[in-house]
């Protein structure tokens, strides 16, 4: 064994950590031959001895009694606190569960109301438009009113005004869409009602010559073209008209000759006649 090896193992040798007998023997031989290593070995032995004394002196050292008492008190308190905590947790758990159920119920109800609100305004608008449609004549108004009154849709219950206002405030876009859809629906319903319950009848004026045409030209034949003109056009042909309805439009049949020129015109008014 050389000095380097001995100094590396000196601490382990002093602590009896090296159990190899041959290694211990060679170290003992080296110590006897080398003064420096002998000094280092003595230092190690002395240190081990002193450390052992310190260790022996403190072997009986223990924490004071009051610490155990404090710990046990803390343990009891903790157990009590834990039990209170767990009770509170249980209470919170059930409250949270109940709140979740209530929220779900309200959610479902709100969704159903929302769906109903989307449907109901259609009915309402259709019924409104059906009761007050733009009509050409009072008779037609009356006939449409009568027709709509007889439809089953008008018997459906309307949404309460407060709820409708709330829904329109909450979902303005959907309410506008619903109204638009309802208007379309009302038009379709109106047409279908008229088709089922009323017969249309056309009342026409006599043909009036257009321009400086000759009545004999009408004999040449031609083609009738249905056009729509403002009511005010009737006045230009010398026909009586209600000035209050001048902006309204009226249908007309134009007789177009073989040369493509308009020969004559007659005005046609479509009227609905109620079957029953």
């Amino acid at each position: 064994m050389n000095c380097e090896k001995f100094l590396t193992d000196a601490a382990d040798l002093a602590r009896n950590q090296i159990v190899d007998a041959s290694e211990r023997a060679s170290a003992r031989v080296h110590v006897e031959q080398c003064d420096d290593c002998r000094r280092a070995w003595n230092d190690q032995l002395e240190l081990s001895e002193r450390l052992r004394k310190v260790a022996d002196q403190m072997t009986s050292s223990r924490a004071p009694e009051h610490i155990e008492a404090q710990l046990l008190t803390a343990f009891r308190d903790r157990t009590r606190v834990v039990s209170i905590h767990s009770a509170q947790k249980r209470w919170r758990y059930w409250m949270t569960a109940a709140a979740a159920v209530v929220l779900m119920v309200f959610g479902v109800l709100a969704w159903r109301w929302h769906v109903a609100s989307v449907r109901q305004p259609q009915v309402e608008v259709s019924s409104k438009s059906a009761t007050a449609p733009p009509s050409d004549s009072p008779k037609q108004e009356q006939s449409q009113t009568v027709a709509v009154k007889g439809t089953p849709s008008s018997t459906q219950p309307l949404i309460k005004p407060t709820l409708r206002r709330w829904l329109s405030r909450r979902h303005p876009a959907s309410s506008q869409l619903a109204k638009r859809d309802a208007a379309k629906q009302s038009t379709v319903e109106q047409a279908s009602v008229l088709a089922t319950n009323a017969e249309t009848k056309e009342l026409a004026t006599d043909f009036v010559l257009v321009g400086y045409g000759n009545a004999l030209d009408l004999q040449d034949g031609g083609q009738l073209v249905r056009v729509e003109l403002p009511r005010s056009a009737m006045a230009t042909f010398g026909l009586p008209m209600n000035m209050d309805r001048a902006d309204e439009r009226i249908k007309a049949d134009v007789l177009v000759g073989t040369d493509g020129r308009a020969r004559a015109i007659r005005f046609v008014e479509v009227k609905a006649i109620i079957k029953n």
């Binding site: 230092d43 240190l47 450390l51 050292s61 155990e68 343990f75």
Partner: protein
């Protein structure tokens, strides 16, 4: 050898976690000594050692379920907590100077048994004091291995398990720590020998 009436640390811990106060008391009585001594040997302060001991078992009460028996005995776990707490406290208190140092020194030394010869007793007390101060002057990594391997008389493997490092690291740290201790104690020895020489010269004069 463990008997039926001597439950293991793991069993005591399980009972304690389940709320058994007696289990906590038994575990405390069984393990508080090593924890307290470790904290005392590391810090030199009985007050700090008491606080650390209490905090270690409070931590065990709080997080007892975090102990994994696969990672080592419960004693390692407790000493590991104590080590962290001591490091925290020493780090926090290193800027303060205790006015009760002398009192603490007395309290540590008071554990000495009285021997027949008062001079031997005095020499022994001085020796222990010198070693104790030398140990406290070591850097923390070296102090830890000295306390665990020399003063607590644990093996390298046990110390490595507590410190969470390799056995080779423990061994090399201990060798370095012993070399430092020898260097630190040598001036005191030389001073003592010089004083003895002066005394002898005076006597001869």
């Amino acid at each position: 050898m463990r008997t039926q009436s001597d439950p293991s640390d793991g069993e005591l811990l399980q009972s304690m976690v389940a709320g058994d106060e007696e289990a906590l008391a038994a575990l405390y009585r069984k393990r508080q000594g090593s924890v307290y001594r470790f904290a005392l040997q590391m810090s030199g302060s009985p007050a700090l050692a008491e606080d650390v001991t209490q905090e270690v078992f409070m931590a065990l009460m709080r997080d007892g379920t975090s102990y994994d028996s696969a990672r080592g005995p419960l004693n390692w776990f407790l000493l590991g907590i104590a080590r962290n707490l001591v490091r925290q406290r020493l780090g926090r208190e290193r800027f303060y100077t205790s006015l009760a140092d002398d009192q603490e020194d007395q309290s540590i030394v008071s554990g000495l048994q009285t021997v027949n010869d008062p001079l031997d007793e005095l020499a022994r007390t001085e020796t222990i004091e010198v070693v104790r101060k030398a140990v406290f002057s070591l850097p923390l990594p070296y102090r830890e291995v000295v306390v665990l391997c020399e003063l607590q008389e644990l093996s390298y493997a046990e110390a490595a398990g507590i410190l969470g490092c390799a056995i080779g690291t423990v061994r090399s740290r201990l060798h370095r720590a012993r070399a430092l201790l020898i260097e630190k104690m040598r001036p005191a020895q030389e001073e003592n020998s010089t004083a003895d020489g002066v005394k002898a010269a005076r006597c001869f004069a």
